[in-house]
């Protein structure tokens, strides 16, 4: 709540004005039946045409004033809700931009997107609604009751009873309905999951001829969803009839009690008409309130989800007193580095890793899936922070360098290739917008991407769909390599980033890197021994520890693990006996 007030603060003028305009509109709506009673009582009663005309004109004029109030209130509310939405969205986006890899992992990408889009929209809607309805509904509701009291206190008690009943019915049903709708949502999710999986795995389904089985599975989920929906809606359906009977019942009671009052001379017939009008107004107001509360409770969830992001502590930040390396050479030193994703180091991913890489060297990293290869290289540009030990780049602890400087020096080609929508040119130049076309061609040539790019009718201006859907996986990988090269880093890391590239092309890339980027330190994570055989050093990782380190022929004679990998890929080297 406090946070939302903070956001409302800059627009407090409008926040205050909106309800005031609304008071104007609602007030006039409340006054009209009262004026009508007066008009009939004095005007019609005395046959005073002038009075009738005067009151009639007053009613029309007041209505017109009312509309001004309504529209102005709306304008203020729209302004506040949209602007607050914008501010909130901006701050949220900024906060997410400051997130480290670990923060992103905690929240997961789809969840972050939903929070930025749907949740904000939800909050915006409820602000708009609150500023209008949250004032209007109570004014109309209690105003109607008060107006009823001014006409006849005794009969107004009927209003209070009706009001209490209405609130009770709404509250009980809504309370009962909430868990049922949760169930509906869950069942719907189940239906969608079955359907989505069936679509995604259609080849498997067809290959195993499991059509009947899938249909059966779906039909169960579908039935459950149907039952749950009927169960939930059945309850909600009761609201309308119950409200109607309360309203109409009260109308009849007013008529009956009013009849006696008119007979006793304490009430005018036209007052009964006014009563009826107020009663309907009250009912509308109660319904409106119910709606507002319903959406508020939903927005509350959204708001909490947004707050969660604001509350998240960003674990990787720039050092207070950054040190700039003098003359960088691209050297990397790991000193007793350990790492674990969890708070406590029970599941350590890396344990006690130490090694030194000289500038310009090529390093290969081999190891099974889950042995910690990606984690190890992600520590170098400080995408994650070490749990223990330290890493020096250019002789300075990475934690003492600014992130900008460090990441400019160290470029990672991530395992998952992500390209952005836009032309190939804008994608390659993304990391270095100032690069010339010549430099871009050079980088693309080194990544062996130039040729296929030029093969497209529009060459470098070929437009890539979202996340690069219209090029093949291997081509995407090569574009992302070019993007990394164009940044002209001192250290470049390939995190299994040629997995979708065929062997010949991959070798060509390696060769061209060797010549065009001779002085760049290259770290290559690979599956194929061939990819790392020429490296100056090869690190074999196993269960988060360095199992062996050395160049190919040293490892061939010293490391059983390495030999095992070599054998598995060459079938005991039979191939060499040509």
């Amino acid at each position: 709540m406090k946070v939302i007030l903070e956001y409302l603060k800059p627009y407090r003028l409008f926040v205050v004005l909106a309800p005031m305009f609304m008071v104007l509109e609602a007030g006039i709506e409340l006054l009209l039946p009262k004026i009508m009673t007066k008009m009939i009582e004095y005007g019609v009663g005395n046959g005073d045409i002038g009075y009738v005309a005067k009151m009639g004109t007053t009613m029309v004029l007041l209505s017109l004033v009312g509309i001004m109030g309504g529209v102005l209130c709306l304008a203020c509310a729209a302004k506040v809700s949209q602007t607050v939405g914008r501010d909130l969205r901006k701050d949220l986006f900024t906060k997410i931009q400051s997130f480290s890899f670990r923060n992103i992992d905690t929240f997961q990408t789809p969840s972050l997107i939903t929070r930025l889009t749907n949740d904000i929209t939800q909050i915006q809607m409820v602000i708009l609604m609150s500023l209008r309805m949250l004032i209007r509904a109570p004014i109309l509701c209690f105003g109607s009751i008060i107006m009823a009291f001014t006409i006849d206190a005794k009969m107004a008690i009927i209003f209070v009873v009706a009001f209490a009943l209405l609130m009770l019915v709404t509250a009980v049903i809504m309370k009962q309905a909430a868990p049922r709708f949760m169930r509906v949502q869950n069942k719907l999710d189940a239906v969608n999951t079955v359907m989505r999986e069936c679509l995604a795995g259609i080849r498997v389904v067809k290959a195993f001829m499991r059509n009947e089985y899938e249909i059966e599975k779906f039909s169960n989920a579908n039935d459950e969803y149907k039952e749950a929906s009927i169960g939930a809606f059945r309850l909600v359906l009761m609201i309308m009839p119950l409200m109607m009977i309360i309203l109409n019942g009260s109308l009849v009671v007013i008529l009956w009690v009013g009849g006696y009052a008119v007979d006793a001379g304490t009430l005018q017939v036209q007052s009964i008409i006014a009563f009826n009008t107020y009663l309907i107004q009250m009912l509308m107001a109660v319904m409106m309130l119910a709606m507002v509360f319903l959406s508020m409770s939903r927005a509350k969830v959204s708001f909490e989800r947004v707050l969660e992001i604001f509350a998240e502590e960003v674990d990787i930040q720039n050092p207070k007193n950054p040190v700039t390396a003098e003359g960088s050479d691209g050297s990397i030193v790991f000193e007793n580095v350990s790492f674990s994703y969890g708070e406590n180091s029970e599941n350590s991913i890396l344990e006690n890793i130490s090694f030194t890489i000289k500038g310009g060297e090529t390093i290969g990293i081999l190891g099974e899936t889950g042995s910690g290869k990606s984690t190890l290289v992600n520590l170098i540009p400080r995408l994650y922070d070490v749990t223990a030990g330290r890493i020096l780049v250019d002789g300075i602890d990475v934690k003492n360098q600014t992130l900008e400087e460090l990441r400019k020096k160290v470029s990672v080609v991530l395992q998952e290739t992500i390209l952005f929508s836009g032309s190939i040119r804008s994608n390659i130049k993304w990391g270095n917008p100032d690069a010339t076309d010549e430099e871009m061609y050079e980088a693309a040539k080194a990544a062996k991407a130039h040729e296929f790019i030029m093969g497209f009718p529009e060459g470098y201006d070929t437009h890539l769909g979202q996340r690069g859907v219209n090029v093949s996986g291997g081509q995407k990988q090569r574009i992302s390599i070019a993007r990394a090269l164009l940044q002209k880093p001192e250290i470049i890391i390939f995190d299994d980033s040629t997995s979708a590239v065929d062997a010949i092309t991959e070798k060509n890339i390696r060769d061209s890197l060797q010549t065009a980027h001779k002085n760049t330190t290259k770290i290559i994570i690979a599956q194929r021994i061939a990819s790392v055989k020429d490296a100056d050093q090869i690190i074999v990782l196993k269960d988060g520890k360095i199992n062996a380190i050395g160049c190919h022929n040293v490892l061939m004679s010293t490391s059983e693990e390495y030999q095992a990998i070599f054998d598995s890929q060459t079938k005991k080297g039979v191939i060499f006996h040509e």
Binding site: V52, A75, N248, L255
Partner: protein, 638 residues
């Protein structure tokens, strides 16, 4: 909460096309589910043939004609009851109250209570019936869609994105559901209510009727004017919101790259521009879509004043008019303006539901996978002799993918298909399984033409392990059981052991009963692959297809899987596609495919001797000649 439809406007400005527009980001939806993909070329959503669609929807409701008749009768009775009750209020005011008559008053009150009681009950009954029918119909449609998806040829899934199909199952079916639950009965109700109320009003007092409707044209005009404006701003807003959300989607998904390149500030700047851009039009759209409410309220108030003044003047001038009639008209006027107001909205939402229904029916009308021929052959056991003779195939006419393919696999042989991406290797597999049908040529299994075989029978003899294993959200056990539904737990365990999967499954806390979330994303690639192999072992097919089965696992895991694979391949006819040539060296026949043709064939040794395409491919993976390479490294390091 994540439903994109949440972004719909709460007010009249809402048009049927809006919810779709939200998704029409410039880039379309994300691949693979998630929010539904945009449907380009469909800016304004109107059903192409509303009448036809309506009839078709009606046909779904036919089994429920009894409920529908009751619901319609209820609506008619409710409307009549309302009119009578309101009339009675006025009459009571004029007679029993004006000239006090306790007995008459009580009687009138009791009758009114009875009418209102009945009306409430009927309202409930009517909406319950509509809910029931609506849910049943929608469940049926959803079920038919699921059935249909099983029958569609694979081609359909290759051509249509899963996201788009998902959107038809969720969004479109939902809009049918809303429409059936509420819109249709409301349209009906509104129409009946307006017509009968108007008739009744005319009967009661013509001058007051005129007073009540005099503002309706004004209302119509204003609504149309505002709706037009609102539509324009709303469209603009949705476009900008779409662009903003597209940006969010893209850059939050690519957040890690943003971090790697330290581009946070640039991305923030781009975001801020789009975000600010939205503000102005957002406010305008919000105002215009919200303004109809207050305006309607005001016009209602003016009508209220006009009725009272007209009635009052009539009373003064001695025309037949009573306070009761005035009271009645105040209520009647509300009763006709509200439905008229809502009618437009409801019709819009009905139209959008029809458009949704059309898209659903579109899927239902796609031609099924071709049926089996009459008297299709069922082979109980097969040896596994597979012959392809002069096979030609094209996904699109005029762009041949396979040209004159001839392949002979004897039972128990292993055939390897090798070649660059896009050469047509997977297409051959698609033809063998009859996922696609050949253009010309002939494929036989044990001498029987593929097209004479019952499809289910054919596929029951073929097992497939793909590169991207698809596992279902279910337990590991059930995922393996997918290979043969009647397998016992012991058989499952046996299959897992042969697939080398038993070891790691044992170490997962719940073992075989562990639930795989989200397609098995909590397992490593290799583990998923081993489960897929266990699944194939359990199915025990005579012909086995391994399509890049080990390409995405590391080589050590591959070594483990290879063992499992050898177990699996024993005694079967195998077709193997592999990137890593080391895995296929022992094949009985290696067919090198390039550009849709078999350009070389032979065993590993003969092909190596030939020093052709295969030789080059192979050497590149192992870096020239092993020996000389070793020497080179030694030379450098010394």
């Amino acid at each position: 909460m994540s439903d994109p439809r949440e972004n719909r406007p709460p007010h009249v400005g809402g048009r049927p096309d809006e919810k779709k527009e939200h998704n029409q980001m410039p880039m379309g939806g994300r691949p693979g589910g998630g929010p539904p993909g945009g449907r380009p070329g469909m800016p304004i959503e109107k059903p192409k043939d509303a009448k036809k669609t309506f009839h078709r929807l009606i046909s779904y409701m036919k089994p429920f004609w009894f409920q529908l008749v009751i619901a319609i009768l209820s609506i008619i009775i409710i409307t009549a009851g309302n009119l009578v009750a309101i009339k009675m209020i006025g009459d009571t005011l004029d007679t029993h109250i004006a000239n006090f008559d306790p007995a008459g008053l009580l009687r009138a009150c009791l009758i009114m209570l009875a009418i209102y009681g009945m009306n409430s009950f009927l309202t409930w009954l009517q909406s319950y019936l509509m809910l029931w029918v609506g849910q049943e119909v929608v469940a049926k449609i959803r079920g038919e869609l699921a059935d249909k998806f099983q029958k569609l040829p694979l081609k359909y899934f290759d051509q249509n994105s899963a996201g788009d199909l998902m959107s038809r199952v969720t969004n479109d079916v939902d809009s049918i559901s809303t429409s059936l639950n509420t819109s249709i009965s409301q349209v009906f109700q509104s129409a009946i209510s307006v017509i009968s109320t108007l008739a009744f009003m005319l009967y009661l007092s013509i001058p007051l009727t005129i007073a009540s409707v005099v503002c309706i044209p004004l209302m119509f005009f204003l609504t149309r004017f505002i709706a037009g404006k609102s539509r324009k701003f709303y469209k603009e807003k949705q476009d900008k919101l779409g662009r903003l959300n597209g940006h969010i989607e893209e850059y939050i998904s690519g957040q890690k790259v943003v971090k790697v390149f330290c581009k946070e500030d640039d991305v923030k700047k781009e975001f801020a521009v789009l975000n600010d851009d939205l503000l102005g039009v957002g406010i305008k759209a919000e105002i215009f879509s919200g303004v109809i409410g207050p305006i309607m309220g005001t016009i209602n108030n003016i009508t209220y004043a006009i009725i009272v003044v007209t009635g009052g003047l009539m009373m003064i001038y001695g025309f037949p008019m009573t306070l009761g009639t005035i009271s009645n008209f105040i209520i009647y006027a509300k009763q006709i303006t509200r439905p008229i107001n809502e009618l437009a909205n409801q019709i819009n939402s009905m139209m959008s539901a029809f458009a949704g229904a059309e898209r659903v029916f579109e899927v239902l009308d796609v031609e099924d996978e071709p049926e089996d021929v009459k008297d299709a052959v069922i082979l109980k056991d097969i040896r596994g002799d597979v012959v392809l003779e002069g096979v030609n195939f094209a996904y699109e006419p005029g762009r041949p993918i396979l040209k004159n393919i001839n392949l002979y696999a004897n039972a128990g042989q292993t055939i390897a298909l090798v070649g660059p991406t896009g050469a047509g290797k997977t297409t051959i597999i698609n033809l063998l399984t009859r996922f696609y049908d050949i253009e010309s040529g002939k494929i036989t299994i044990d001498g029987v033409d593929l097209y004479d075989l019952q499809k289910a029978n054919l596929r029951s003899h073929i097992g497939i392990v793909l590169q991207d294993t698809y596992l279902f959200t279910s337990t590991i056990k059930e995922n393996i059981r997918y290979g043969r539904l009647d397998a016992t737990d012991a058989e499952i365990k046996e299959a897992a052991k042969l697939a080398n999967a038993h070891e790691f499954i044992k170490h997962i806390p719940k073992g075989y009963d562990s639930v795989l979330a989200d397609g098995g994303s909590n397992l490593s690639h290799g583990q998923r692959q081993m489960i897929a192999i266990a699944r194939a072992i359990l199915a025990n097919p005579s012909i086995l297809i391994l399509d890049e089965a080990t390409s995405s696992v590391d080589t050590q895991t591959e070594a483990k899987i290879q063992g499992a694979m050898n177990n699996l391949m024993k005694g079967r006819t195998n077709f193997v596609i592999a990137h890593r040539l080391s895995t296929i060296k022992d094949a009985d026949l290696i067919a090198v495919i390039n550009g849709g043709e078999i350009i070389e064939r032979g065993t590993h040794n003969t092909l190596m001797e030939k020093q052709g395409f295969y030789y080059n491919l192979y050497s590149s993976q192992f870096d020239e000649d092993g020996h000389s390479n070793m020497k080179k490294i030694q030379g450098e390091s010394e």
